[in-house]
């Protein structure tokens, strides 16, 4: 038996190949370059790789030639490129947060992750600069996310899922402060993530049993024509959905979110909130729109209930949170519900506005976590909300920016939050999911309350003795904050450019 090598369109894969290559180079850098030089090599290397990858995405988008390549394992189409581009851009902003070393000597990451927390060796390493392996791991994760959005069959998708998940599990464990919390978060995320991956893989097997194929086009054809038992299809679809819903943090698969968001180093939390969200929804969109479009009558009621539960549970639980990172975690859960609402419209508007929402939310959440990084005292970040009381009097500029971001989360008009929510809800109404929109509107009304509570706390409370100050951001954090806030404003006031971009992206290639 001879294998025929599939033809590979290297240019089409270039955005991902650049990142994988740079990530491998980054591993070598860590092995070969002296410790004190590594940071100064890794950051430019990652940045250049991301810029190059972004350049290739733009070039491919301009080529307007949509291809299925690598033996039909990867598809490069308009929405896929848009999602890849979003991941790269949001990844660059997240990289700025990761690279910040001015707020905390040595950065937000521990020097040696394997040292027992609280031991003598641990105290010694407190002053050493953080690990630089985070950069190649981030690049691996980003490349995996991009592949996840462009996979054309379930097996490639599964590989991509693991490629971007494993670095994330590790990155979660690397916080310099509150080491135990960080390690606990990482273990929880890993165990539950593995559990979810198992569901996904089981779903792949079921679908293969039903369709005899794992590529999306084949599944799509089989949904109409296969004579196999429909039970296989439904169980398979449910299992696949569970694996994906875990990543997007939908109820009841959201349980990891608050713990992991709280425990992970804040730049990594920001990275997950922005980029993982894009990748997970990119994958979900592709699976539902390309492979299972014809069974939408089967899954829409069930996934609709999940979306409704996600919106309600996320919003209501956000009300009772007292830690800003946990609050943002539950807000991320609720936002997953709004995104699911857009996804389930199962029409072109749904695809467009869900992608727009992902970008809009990504920028806002990155900027919000950037400010969380800045509010700190001698013990590191002050994340308990009580400590934020009166922040507006101490640092009016940052409190104003955070207020603006909170208003964006609350969906107040002329911020990107309004445009995005309006878009997905309108799309869902167009897709006959009006009942979901009603729940969505009610949920966003509830969710506005915790955000406004933070605003009131910052401005209308008298600062206490333990109100931390806002540190002066380094150039990296300042840049991330600026980009995040500026995009939140631009996408709220004049979203037409970005909307034309998602419109031009067109539909998925089948």
């Amino acid at each position: 038996m001879t294998f025929k090598l599939p033809a590979i369109d290297y240019l089409a894969l270039a955005p991902m190949l650049v990142l994988f290559g740079a990530a491998c180079a980054g591993v070598l850098v860590d092995a070969l370059v002296p410790r004190e030089w590594r940071y100064h090599v890794q950051v430019p290397l990652s940045l250049v790789a991301l810029l190059a990858s972004g350049g290739f995405v733009v070039a491919l988008a301009n080529r307007k030639e949509h291809v299925v390549t690598a033996g039909s394992a990867v598809v490069i189409d308009g929405p896929g490129l848009f999602l890849q581009g979003s991941i790269v851009v949001l990844g660059i902003v997240a990289l700025f947060l990761v690279a910040e070393r001015r707020l905390e000597p040595g950065g937000a990451f521990v020097a040696q992750a394997a040292v027992v927390a609280g031991s003598e060796a641990d105290r010694k390493q407190m002053r050493k600069p953080g690990v630089t392996e985070v950069y190649p791991m981030m690049l691996f994760a980003l490349a995996g996310m991009m592949l996840f959005c462009s996979a054309n069959d379930l097996l490639t998708m599964f590989v991509a899922l693991e490629v971007f998940s494993l670095p994330l599990y590790l990155l979660c464990a690397l916080a310099r402060r509150r080491r135990l919390l960080s390690q606990e978060a990482a273990v929880k995320y890993f165990l539950l993530g593995a559990f979810a991956s198992a569901f996904f893989l089981y779903g792949v097997a079921m679908i293969y049993g039903y369709a005899g194929k794992v590529d999306f086009r084949g599944i799509n054809e089989a949904v109409l024509g296969s004579s196999n038992s429909k039970t296989l299809l439904l169980i398979g679809l449910a299992m696949l959905a569970i694996g994906l819903l875990f990543k997007v943090a939908a109820v009841p698969f959201h349980v990891w979110t608050p713990d992991v968001y709280q425990g992970a180093p804040t730049p990594i939390t920001a990275f997950m909130a922005a980029c993982t969200k894009v990748a997970a929804f990119g994958g979900l969109l592709r699976v539902l729109y390309v492979a299972f479009e014809r069974s939408s009558w089967d899954f829409r009621p069930t996934l609709g209930v999940i979306a409704a539960a996600t919106m309600i549970v996320g919003a209501v639980l956000a009300v009772t949170q007292t830690d800003i990172k946990r609050l943002l975690a539950y807000s991320s859960v609720a936002n997953a519900g709004y995104l699911l609402t857009g996804t389930l419209s199962m029409n072109r508007d749904g695809l467009k506005y869900t992608m727009f929402y992902l970008v809009a939310y990504g920028f806002t959440v990155l900027a919000a976590f950037a400010i969380v990084m800045l509010v700190r005292d001698s013990d590191g970040e002050a994340t308990h909300l009580a400590r934020w009381a009166g922040l507006g009097r101490r640092s009016p500029v940052f409190a104003s920016l955070f207020t603006f971001l909170m208003l964006a989360f609350a969906g107040i008009p002329l911020t990107s939050g309004f445009t995005a929510k309006f878009g997905v809800f309108a799309a869902a109404v167009g897709g006959n999911m009006t009942w979901l929109v009603i729940i969505g509107v009610l949920s966003s009304m509830i969710l506005a309350f915790p955000y406004l509570r933070v605003v009131v706390l910052m401005w209308l409370s008298v600062p206490g003795d333990d109100t931390p100050t806002v540190s002066v951001p380094g150039a990296f954090t300042a840049a991330a904050l600026f980009v995040g806030v500026a995009m939140t404003l631009v996408l709220g006031v004049a979203p037409n450019q970005a909307l034309e971009l998602v419109n031009d992206a067109g539909a998925f290639l089948r």
């Binding site: 165990l191 899954f299 069930t302 209501v316 109404v429 037409n496 419109n503």
Partner: protein
């Protein structure tokens, strides 16, 4: 209810000449607010002057546009599409503005009354360290309010709607060292959100049914919708309007909002923002006129709220709260008007404009009294003030005569026709709503007389150390101008403004109902005289200094007719239990439920303690439970 006569489809003319720059109207106060925010303390010295200048400039500009619009022949409207907000796909929303007769009168009211209140606030806030910030919020509010009335589609209206809500929330909470102010701000915000949710869903419904949220598309498309859809859409819009305008069942926030500084109460919670609900209904008159049930609901809410406001107003002793409940009640009259439909739309609008003058005047007068009485607000502790603050006395008195509707002041020309129109509603409901409006007029006369007499006349009942004095000119001049407006506006507007509004609200034939004009006027005058006489007789000798025990009716009125209890039961309690249940489930997870069941079955209560939080296995179990549910649900939906 098909007396509406749209001769042609609704169509707006594109703006030309100077009218194409109507965006300046909201851009000027917005720019001023931005400057005041961004410059921070550097602008403390002159910030208030900039704030005043920007609003006055906007008023002048509004006048220019008004006369431009007047000069147009035929279709008096100017539509400007600034840019395409959401350009692509089936959902198109433009950042579009529309200046037509309806929005033009609102622009003049907002900027005119707004200018006077800004000037007054310069004096009122003179000693407040946060004066610059106050003016920044004030300008922001004006900009948002102008955006609200100038939009050419519902999304623009919603922008302004949320903007004024936000500004009002921030301004109520302005006196933040008072916990009551923070609570009031929160309450205003929450109850407005309930209304906003209705409005937002109505917009999505329009989009789903008509594919557009532009005024002209919606109004022209209403006829194609089923009656059920129109009813639902209208009720949702009405919910939004009730939230913003403090109408039943969402009226409880408005009086609490009086915790904010007095100029805020005057501008936002009397003259402008609270009338946004009336604007919404008047603007959507094509929707509301298309369904008779809908109109009946609006009329009922108006009639009910106007009585609620009157009854509670009789029992309150806080000068600002009495005025607040009178606002609730007067907006009830406006809702009654817009609900009656037909010719009464225009009546509601002119009552709104007149109300803007006399209520702003009285609120500022109350502020002037508080200014001279060391922030005392209890009317039992006033008395005999007419001698000490003559200008405040006279101007407040004119506002008072205007609100109770004595001729020839404005209330007479604007409120009486609404009562007449209510009586002339066909069927037995005409008697009901007319009777309610008439009763309201009598009660208004009574409680406003009580307020006026107890404050300015009778024996002095001051607390120790009071030295009342007249306020400075910067505060009294606006009072005088507003008083002139309360005197003259009614007669001037009663025909001219009604004609002016015809293109928007439709032309309606003169109706002759069951009761003649003079009959109703006579009845109203008799009832008002009765209320006035009762008020004077009861309170000319003053009143007890403390709250006296009272019967069930008065106690209920003192407790705002238990509206807070109602809200707690309907909104707060379910929310609280939902939160608790979810927190419980989230902490315990499915693990807890399973363990709990096991404990109950096994009878070992000790096992319950093992239902701990934060364990991965508990999380994994809840995921497994969720997975089973998802699979089962998918199978059930398809195969079941």
């Amino acid at each position: 209810m098909d007396n509406i006569q749209y001769s042609a489809a609704v169509e707006y003319a594109a703006a030309s000449g100077t009218l194409s720059s109507i965006w300046l109207l909201f851009a000027i106060p917005l720019a001023s607010a931005a400057v005041l925010f961004l410059l921070g303390r550097r602008a403390d010295k002159w910030g208030h002057l900039l704030g005043v200048a920007s609003v006055v400039a906007t008023f002048v500009l509004g006048l220019v546009y008004f006369f431009q619009l007047k000069g147009l022949s035929g279709n008096r409207s100017a539509e400007v599409d600034l840019f395409s907000f959401m350009p692509v796909g089936s959902l198109k929303v433009d950042f579009g503005l529309l200046l037509d007769p309806l929005s033009a009168v609102f622009v003049l009211l907002i900027t005119g009354v707004g200018s006077l209140i800004h000037i007054y606030a310069v004096g009122y806030m003179a000693h407040d360290p946060g004066r610059r910030r106050f003016f920044a919020f004030f300008n922001l509010f004006i900009a948002a309010m102008l955006l609200l009335v100038l939009g050419n589609n519902y999304v623009m209206l919603y922008f302004g709607w949320e903007g004024v809500g936000l500004a009002s929330y921030l301004l109520i909470s302005f006196f933040f060292d008072k916990p009551s102010a923070a609570t009031a701000g929160k309450k205003a915000f929450l109850m407005n959100r309930v209304g906003d949710a209705g409005f937002a869903i109505a917009m999505f419904l329009m989009f789903a049914q008509l594919g557009s949220v532009n005024y002209d598309d919606v109004f022209n498309g209403v006829n194609q919708l089923t009656q059920g859809t129109v009813l639902v859409m209208g009720l949702l819009l009405l919910l939004g309007a009730c939230g913003k305008s403090g109408q039943f069942p969402l009226q409880a926030w408005l009086p609490d909002a009086m915790e904010g500084p007095t100029p805020v109460s005057a501008l936002i919670h009397a003259a402008t923002m609270v009338t946004a609900g009336v604007y919404l209904i008047a603007r959507s008159n094509a929707v509301f006129s298309a369904n008779a049930t809908l109109q009946t609901v609006v009329v009922s809410i108006g009639a009910l709220t106007l009585l609620i406001g009157c009854v509670i107003g009789c029992a309150k002793d806080d000068i600002k709260r009495v005025l607040a409940y009178s606002t609730v009640s007067q907006i009830g009259y406006m809702f009654l008007g817009v609900g009656l439909g037909g010719a009464a739309y225009a009546l509601a609008i002119i009552h709104l404009l007149a109300h803007g003058f006399f209520k702003a005047g009285m609120f500022l007068g109350a502020g002037s009294v508080m200014h001279g009485m060391q922030d005392q607000v209890d009317i039992r502790r006033f008395g005999g003030l007419w001698k000490y603050m003559k200008i405040t006395w006279i101007t407040f008195g004119l506002g008072y005569v205007a609100i109770i509707g004595l001729p020839p002041l404005s209330g007479f020309f604007t409120k009486d026709p609404i009562i007449l129109a209510a009586f002339n509603r066909p069927g037995w409901t005409g008697w009901l709503f007319g009777g309610a409006a008439l009763l309201g007029a009598g009660l208004t006369a009574f409680y406003m007389t009580r307020l006026f007499v107890l404050t300015f006349h009778g024996p002095k009942r001051w607390t120790d150390g009071q030295h009342p004095h007249e306020s400075p000119a910067v505060m009294t001049v606006p009072l005088v101008l507003l008083a002139v407006g309360s005197v003259a506006s009614g007669f001037l507007m009663s025909t001219s403004v009604v004609d002016w509004l015809t293109p928007v609200l439709g032309k309606h034939a003169e109706e002759h109902g069951r009761l003649g004009h003079w009959t109703v006027t006579g009845m109203t005058m008799a009832v008002v005289a009765l209320g006035l006489a009762a008020g004077v007789l009861l309170f000319r000798k003053g009143t007890a200094l403390e709250e006296q025990p009272a019967g069930p009716v008065v106690t209920a009125a003192r407790n705002n007719l238990y509206a807070d209890t109602f809200n707690e039961l309907v909104f707060e309690l379910p929310g609280r239990y939902l939160t608790r249940a979810l927190v419980f489930l989230d902490n315990r997870g499915i693990d807890g439920v399973v363990n709990g069941l096991a404990a109950m079955v096994g009878g070992g209560s000790g096992r319950l303690r093992r239902a701990q939080t934060g364990y991965v296995r508990s999380y994994a179990l809840s995921m497994l439970g969720g997975a089973l549910l998802v699979v089962a649900a998918l199978m059930a939906v398809t195969l079941g």
